[in-house]
């Protein structure tokens, strides 16, 4: 790395800020993205520190205090159909809902990038075969595929993560393949190849740095979808099993209370909505800050 001493040339060298620091600056100047980030952060922290924050045990019910309205003493957000404190269950519910929503995207990001970058770099018939196979998954709308897979695999946290990961891998792989193919045909990659760099070096030094950004931004936009789908699976009874607190499942069991305590019944869904929209707005801000066109 060539370091030019500021004094040695005469004119003071102006160090241009790096790409990531300018992305960070643009992001912090975007009020909507920062507000969204703050909400995500608060919900995440509340979920992580649930035992400290939640006022009551999320599992302990009370037959006398079933379906209390919002702002009942001791039940600030009311109680559910088994008399459990809603606020505590919502705080604890964030743990599973966030975990189930984010994990498939992380796994999909790893799997999809791996497949997309390798195949995109390899090109040729390997590319054709893998990408055509991936196309098959696009014949299923993602909700349908997720429900079909977890319906066949059976209910459970693990199965719900597996099916959502299978839904996201093809989507991320397709983007990864497209950006890798684009980068591979750029002149600097050709120059590196001519100067004798091996495929591994080219991928590590020249490709990764250029493709991971766009793939990452695309993946963050999937978190919102993933949250909705994961809670949707639990809502159908395909994800988390009772009595565990999870927003989708809570929404399902509270459906019976729609007429007696409508506002309490709608609360878990409001949490899913708030989290999903915050992830969406943050991802939008990130895309603008990174100047990626979709």
């Amino acid at each position: 790395m060539a370091v030019i001493e500021a004094g040695s040339i005469g004119a003071p060298a102006v160090r241009s800020p790096g790409y990531w620091s300018s992305v960070g600056r643009r992001l912090t100047r975007d009020p909507v993205a920062m507000a969204a980030f703050a909400i995500v952060l608060i919900i995440t922290l509340a979920a992580v520190f649930a035992p400290e924050i939640a006022p009551a045990d999320p599992f302990r019910g009370s037959m006398v205090h079933r379906l209390k309205p919002i702002r009942t003493p001791l039940y600030p957000l009311g109680s559910d159909e088994l008399g459990r404190d809603m606020l505590s269950r919502l705080v604890y519910g964030g743990r599973l809902s966030l975990f189930l929503g984010v994990t498939p995207v992380i796994l999909g990001f790893i799997g999809g990038s791996l497949i997309g970058i390798l195949v995109g770099y390899a090109g040729g018939w390997v590319n054709t075969i893998v990408m055509r196979t991936i196309d098959i998954f696009f014949a299923f709308p993602s909700v349908l595929l997720a429900i079909a897979l977890s319906g066949a695999l059976g209910a459970g946290i693990f199965n719900s993560i597996v099916s959502l990961t299978i839904v996201f891998i093809p989507q991320i792989a397709r983007i990864a393949e497209a950006v890798t193919t684009q980068t591979r045909n750029r002149d600097f990659v050709e120059a590196a190849r001519i100067s004798g760099a091996g495929p591994l070096t080219i991928v590590r030094v020249h490709i990764l740095g250029n493709v991971l950004g766009p793939i990452f931004v695309y993946s963050t936009s999937l978190v919102s979808v993933s949250m909705i789908l994961a809670s949707g699976l639990s809502f159908l009874g395909l994800g988390v099993k009772p009595p565990l607190p999870e927003w989708g499942l809570m929404l399902n069991t509270l459906r019976t209370a729609i007429y007696s305590q409508p506002f309490v019944a709608a609360l878990p869904g409001a949490m899913i909505f708030l989290t999903s929209i915050s992830f969406n707005l943050f991802s939008d801000g990130l895309r603008t800050a990174m100047e990626i066109r979709q």
């Binding site: 196309d135 098959i136 014949a139 709308p141 695999l153 459906r255 729609i258 019944a265 709608a266 969406n280």
Partner: protein, 303 residues
């Protein structure tokens, strides 16, 4: 493509833990009886051969019998598809109409109050969990206001849709709920398209030579149509696929409801058949969109 879809649908029944017969097998069945049953249903043969036999039957319109009810899957699915399609069609009309409208307004008046309003509506539409929106609809219009019925397809538990006023009332809430997401996505797409087209040189040229705004608008529509159509085609498919959650909320007797039943009774032939029909529908839809696209814009080639 259709072959790939059929393979995935076929494999669905085989990624299930245990085998497809567990649901109907008596608990005290001996190993010998189990083997007999397996042989009777052909589950003892190698997978590719099972697939071949299954595909042969499917091509002849035989999707097998529902394990739970014993009735042919085909007849169950066709009845449900009809109900789903009616609901989807109405939701499509609402969602596409409003989405296109909001998108055009926002794209034309960029930065204005209307644009911001349309952008808010579209981001809300994209992020809302539709099953929750369905519940909120029921809470507002059914529980609090008492204007509309909350569940079912018609009075008296009617499972067949008829074009009369009573049945129409049952359709309003699910259709509105279903239209929210496509509306958001289409509004976003159309807004970006319109804004992009309006900033192009040819629009300025058209205006410079004195063309009236209405005629310019026609050019904008023509240029936005192919991409908008592609997005709409995809959305119609997602609408059908996503209907399972909404149909569950409203107990609408369509494919979503059928899938839900199939999943809970572990009725794998029914699951397989419903998914296959929906996926093939989606593939056909995409094909139609491709053809339409190249009809509107000759520069787009089918491939």
């Amino acid at each position: 493509m259709a072959v790939g879809v059929s393979i995935v649908c076929f494999l669905l029944a085989h990624i299930a833990p245990g085998d497809p017969l567990t649901a109907i097998m008596p608990i005290d069945a001996t190993a010998e009886q189990q083997a007999q049953m397996r042989a009777a249903y052909g589950f003892d043969r190698p997978l590719p051969i099972q697939y071949g036999i299954w595909l042969w039957k499917v091509l002849h319109g035989d999707l097998g019998n529902s394990i739970a009810t014993g009735r042919p899957v085909v007849s169950e699915v066709t009845k449900a598809v009809g109900n789903s399609l009616i609901l989807a069609a109405v939701a499509t009309l609402i969602g596409f109409g409003l989405g296109t409208f909001f998108g055009f307004v926002a794209g034309y008046f960029r930065g204005g109050l209307l644009d911001r309003l349309a952008s808010v509506v579209s981001i809300l539409g994209v992020s809302v969990p539709n099953y929750w929106l369905g519940m909120v609809m029921v809470i507002v219009f059914s529980a609090l206001l008492g204007w509309l019925p909350s569940t079912g397809a018609g009075p008296g538990g009617s499972t067949e849709w008829r074009p009369d006023l009573d049945h129409l009332r049952y359709m309003i809430l699910p259709a509105l709920t279903m239209s929210a997401i496509p509306m958001g996505i289409i509004a976003r797409t159309v807004r970006a398209l319109v804004a992009d087209i309006l900033s192009q040189d040819f629009v300025q040229a058209l205006r410079a030579k004195g063309m009236r705004e209405l005629a310019v608008f026609k050019h904008v529509v023509r240029n936005a149509a192919p991409t908008a159509l592609a997005v709409m085609g995809l959305q119609l498919g997602y609408l059908l696929g996503g209907s399972i959650l909404i149909e569950t909320v409203f107990a609408w007797p369509g494919t979503g409801f059928l899938l839900n039943t199939a999943i809970f009774q572990r009725d794998l032939p029914l699951l397989q058949g419903t998914i296959l029909v929906l996926a093939l529908f989606f593939v056909t839809l995409n094909l139609i969109v491709d053809v339409l696209q190249s009809a509107i814009d000759p520069r787009i080639q089918r491939g």
